[in-house]
Subunit: 282 residues, 4 copies
C-alpha cells in the first residue's frame, strides 16, 4: 500500500497540527505517522506526516493538492510518494568501504531507492561496480579539468535523472557553481566529528591532538567545505595505543554506519535542513 510523506516548514502559528491532520482526514486519508517540531527561537514550525491516501491511484494529484494547501498556511511542503523509488548517484574515489557498504544495503532492500550510477575520478572501483551490475563512469578531475569535469558530471546527473548525490569518500571538493546548477541534495561523509578537524587529513589531526574519541559526520554539502547542515554523527573510542593507521581503520567502520544512517533518513524523507542545522524526524 503506497503512502505519501510530506515534509513541511514555515512560520509557526496556532492550529497547524489540527489543520494539516484535518485536511488529510477529510479526504479519507489515514495518517500513519505525524511528527512536528517548533524552533521556539526562530519561530519556525516543522512537520512530517505520512498517510495512506484514500485513492492510491490519485497519489500524485493529492500530493500537489496538499502542497497547495500547505502554501495557504504559509508553509512550503515537499510531498513524496513511496511508490516512486528515488535515484541515487554515488561519487567515489579510491576507498572501497563506503561504496561496498551502500551497494550491499541497496541490494538487501534497506533503502527506498536505487543506485542509478557510480561516478569516480579514478578507476579503482570500476570492476567492483560492474560486478554489481552498476553503470560506472570515470570522470577524471585535475586542477585544470575541474570545470569541464563538473560539466560532464552535471550532464550525467541530468541524464540519469538523479534525485540525490552521495559522496562516498569522494576526495574532490564540489564547486558552488556545481551545487547550484545541480539543485539536488548532496550528502557527504566527513571523517571527523565536525566542527573539529575540518579540512584535510582529519585522522592525522586527531592523532596529533591526542583526542580520546574520533568521529564521523554526514552532512549536506554546501559551498563552504565541511560546513553544511549535519544529519548524523557518531564517535568511537581511541587510546594512546592507536596509530594513525588504527584511527583510519576504526574510522572506516564509523564512516560506513554514519553515512548509511544519514542516507536512510534522507531517503525516508525524515530530514529537513534549515540554515546550518537539520531537523531529523526519526
Amino acid at each position: 500500500m503506497p503512502t505519501l510523506v510530506a515534509l513541511l516548514h514555515g512560520p509557526d502559528q496556532p492550529g497547524l497540527v489540527a489543520r494539516t491532520a484535518g485536511w488529510i482526514y477529510e479526504r479519507g486519508g489515514n495518517i500513519l505517522h505525524a511528527d512536528q517540531h517548533r524552533d521556539m527561537d526562530a519561530g519556525v514550525f516543522f512537520q512530517r506526516i505520512e498517510w495512506e491516501p484514500s485513492n492510491p491511484a490519485r497519489a500524485p494529484e493529492i500530493a500537489s493538492e496538499f502542497s497547495a494547501f500547505a502554501a495557504t498556511l504559509g508553509m512550503s511542503a515537499r510531498v513524496r510518494s513511496s511508490a516512486r523509488r528515488q535515484r541515487v548517484v554515488l561519487f567515489v574515489s579510491k576507498f572501497p568501504h563506503c561504496f561496498h557498504d551502500l551497494v550491499l544495503r541497496f541490494n538487501s532492500g534497506e533503502y527506498p531507492g536505487e543506485i542509478a550510477a557510480v561516478v569516480s575520478n579514478h578507476t579503482d572501483l570500476a570492476a567492483a561496480a560492474r560486478a554489481y551490475g552498476l553503470p560506472f563512469h570515470h570522470i577524471p578531475v585535475t586542477p585544470d579539468s575541474k570545470t569541464s569535469a563538473e560539466a560532464a558530471q552535471l550532464a550525467l546527473l541530468r541524464e540519469t535523472a538523479a534525485d540525490l548525490v552521495v559522496l562516498a569518500r569522494y576526495m574532490q571538493v564540489l564547486s558552488g557553481g556545481f551545487l547550484r546548477s545541480l539543485n539536488r541534495p548532496v550528502i557527504n561523509i566527513h571523517h571527523s566529528f565536525l566542527p573539529a578537524f575540518a579540512g584535510g587529513k582529519p585522522y592525522h589531526q586527531a592523532a596529533l591532538r591526542g583526542v580520546k574519541l574520533i568521529g564521523a559526520t554526514a552532512h549536506y554539502a554546501t559551498e563552504l567545505l565541511d560546513d553544511g547542515p549535519i544529519i548524523q554523527q557518531d564517535v568511537v573510542r581511541v587510546t594512546h595505543r592507536d596509530t594513525v593507521d588504527d584511527l583510519i581503520r576504526k574510522g572506516r567502520d564509523l564512516e560506513r554506519v554514519v553515512l548509511a544512517q544519514a542516507l536512510r533518513w534522507h531517503l525516508e524523507s525524515r530530514v529537513l535542513a534549515y540554515g546550518r542545522k537539520t531537523v531529523v524526524f526519526d
Copy 2:
C-alpha cells in the same frame, strides 16, 4: 504559562490524530507537542499531546472534558496540568548514590515535582535526608514484620498524597498486595541489563559469566520480580580486569543516570506502559 499533557491509548482507528488535534484547536488551545505511535501487531494507538489551553484557569475542567472526549473515541486518557507539581516518595536502604543524585536533581529544578518523603528500612541515610530538609521515615522490614511494615508504608504514602514511589536501590521486594493497594506507579532501578541477571547479586552473576558490558534497567515494579515494563536501560563496558568491586563502582554511575532519566520521563508524562512494554515519547 501552564500546559496540559494528555497520554491516550486505545484501539486504533482512522482519524484519531485529526480528531484529538481538532478538539483542542476548536477550543482555542495551542498544541505545543504531539506525538503518536501505533503498535501494528496489537492494533493499539498511543498519543501524547501537550497544549496551552485558552483559559488556564479552567485547566482542571478542560482536562476532564478531554478525558471524556477521549472516552467517546474508545480511548483512555490521563491528563495532567503542568501547574500541579507531582509528589514523589523515595524508598532507600543503605546505598547513598541514587539517593543523593535524585535529591540534587530535584533541588536543581530538573524535575516537575518534589520529594514528599524518604522512607527506609535502615537509618543510614537519615542524617543526610534531614540535612537536605527532607522528612525521613524509618520503617524496618523483617520477614516477620513485612505485612505490618507495608501497612505503615501505605499509610504514610496516603498521608503524603504520593503520586509516585521511586525505589532508589531499596533492597526489599514489594508484595503484590502492596502494589494493588497503593495503586500508584512504582519505579525501580535494577542493576543489570534485564532480562539478563534478574534477581539477587547481578554484578556477581555478570562477573561469573564474563560479560563485556554491564547494564542497569529502570522499570515499573510489578508483582513479578524484575519483570515489569522497562522504561530505560543503559550499559557500560567492562573488561577482564574489572573485579566485582569495579563492576559495582561502574554500575553506580549507570544506575544513577538510568534511574534519573526514567524518572524524568515519567514526571514529564512521556511514558505509557502496556503489557510488559512501554511507549516513551521522548
Copy 3:
C-alpha cells in the same frame, strides 16, 4: 620484520613478569608489547608478549624453546609467528551481511590471515563467494544427515588445514563430537546480548520483552548452545517504534562489527579463554 606472540597462562607466582621478559632479553629479543593479568580469585596469571627475535630465521625454534621454558614455570603457552598467516574457514547459511563484511575486511588487509574456504548448508551465497574467488562448499544439513554432514565438514577442515572456524550467521548447531574432533577454536556470533535471549529468534524475544537496547555477542562455540566464553559484545538503542524487522536491520550492523572485532582480536592472538570467560589483551 616478523614477530612472535606468546599467550601464556598458569598458576600465579612472584617473578613471572621478570622471568619471561628476562628470557627474551637474554636471547637478544626486543619486546614490543607485554601485557599481563592476574585473576586474584582463581590465582591464575595470564600474559601476552610480542617480540622481535634476534634471528627471524630461527623463529619456529625460538617459539618451541619459549614454550618449553614456560612449561618450567608451570605455564602453558601458545606461540605464533606473525610470518605464518592463519587459515580461516567461514560457515554461512543464507544471511549475507557478515559474510560480505568479513570478506571485504580480509581483502583490505585488515586481518593477519586468509579465508581458506566457505562452507554452507545452502547455496544462496555460492555465486558471491565464487565472485570473490573463494572456494565454496555446499554441505546440506538435515536432521537425518547431520552426522554425515559433520563428517564431511571435518574432512574439509582437515584438507584445508583450517586454524579457525567462524560461524558467520551459520544457522545450525554444531555437536559436541564435532567440536572435540575438530579441536580448533570456533567463533560464533549470536544476535543478542547474552545471556539474555539465548536460543532461537532473539530479536523476536527482545521485541516481546520491550527492551530498550539490543545486542550482539561473539563467543567461542562450546557444546552448550550460546554458552561459550564471550569475546566481544555491543548494543544499540531501540525504541517502541522499532518493529522486529527494524531490530533485525539494526542488529545486522551490530553483528558485523562485533564479529569482525572478535575475529580481529583472535587472529592477533589477543584472546585467552578460560572457563566461561576470556581475557582480551587489546
Copy 4:
C-alpha cells in the same frame, strides 16, 4: 598491603621491560601490574609498574632507589606509595554538580586521596562545603584583583600541601605565571568535545552549529586556554528538540562522569602527559 606505583618515560631502547621487572624481582618485590607503551614516531617508551615491595617499611627508600635506577636507563620516573593519600584542592564557582559529585565520590572511598580544601571566587557553595565538613575559602577574582587573588590561592595551596588542583567548573582562567609557580598538575573540565567549541559558551556554540552529539573533555590545564593534554572525553546524543537549556542539563551529567574518571586515573597514577597528549594506563 601498600604498593608502589612507578610511572616512567624516556628514550626507547631494547631491554627496558626486562630490566625494570628484573630490578624489582631481584629485590623481592612482587609485580602486580605492568603496562608499557611505545610511541614509535617519537621513539619514547612509557611504563607503569605497580608492585608490593618486600619490606613495606622501606617503601620511601625503595621509591628513591627505583627513580635513581630509572635515571641510569635514561628515564625519568615518578614513584608513589599507595600508603600516602594525595591532597586535592577543588576550585569551584557557582555550578554545584561537579562539586557534589566529587565530594560524594571521595566520601564513598572511590579515590586514593582526600579533599584538602575548597576554593571559590563566589560564596554560593560555601554552606554546602561546610556541611560536608570541608574548609571553604572565598577568594574573589576581578580583572583588577586577579594578581593578588592568584597570590592568595598559591599561598593557600602551599599551606594545604596540595598535590593536585581540580577545576570543577571553576569559571576563571589561570595565568601561566600561576601554573608555573604552583608546579603541580591542574585538571580542568571543559564542557565540549575539544578541540570543537573551545572558549566560552560551548553549549551555545553547539546549538548554533546543529551538532548531533555534545561532549565534555577533562584535560590538564596549560597556559593556552582549552589546549592542554586530554585525559578523558565522552559524548551524549542530542537532537533538534534539545534547546540550549537541554544541552546544559545533558552536559552536566557528562561533565561529572568525565571529570570523575579523569581524576580517578590521575590519582591512581595512570596518566602520563607528554607534549599535547597523554598515555592513560587503564
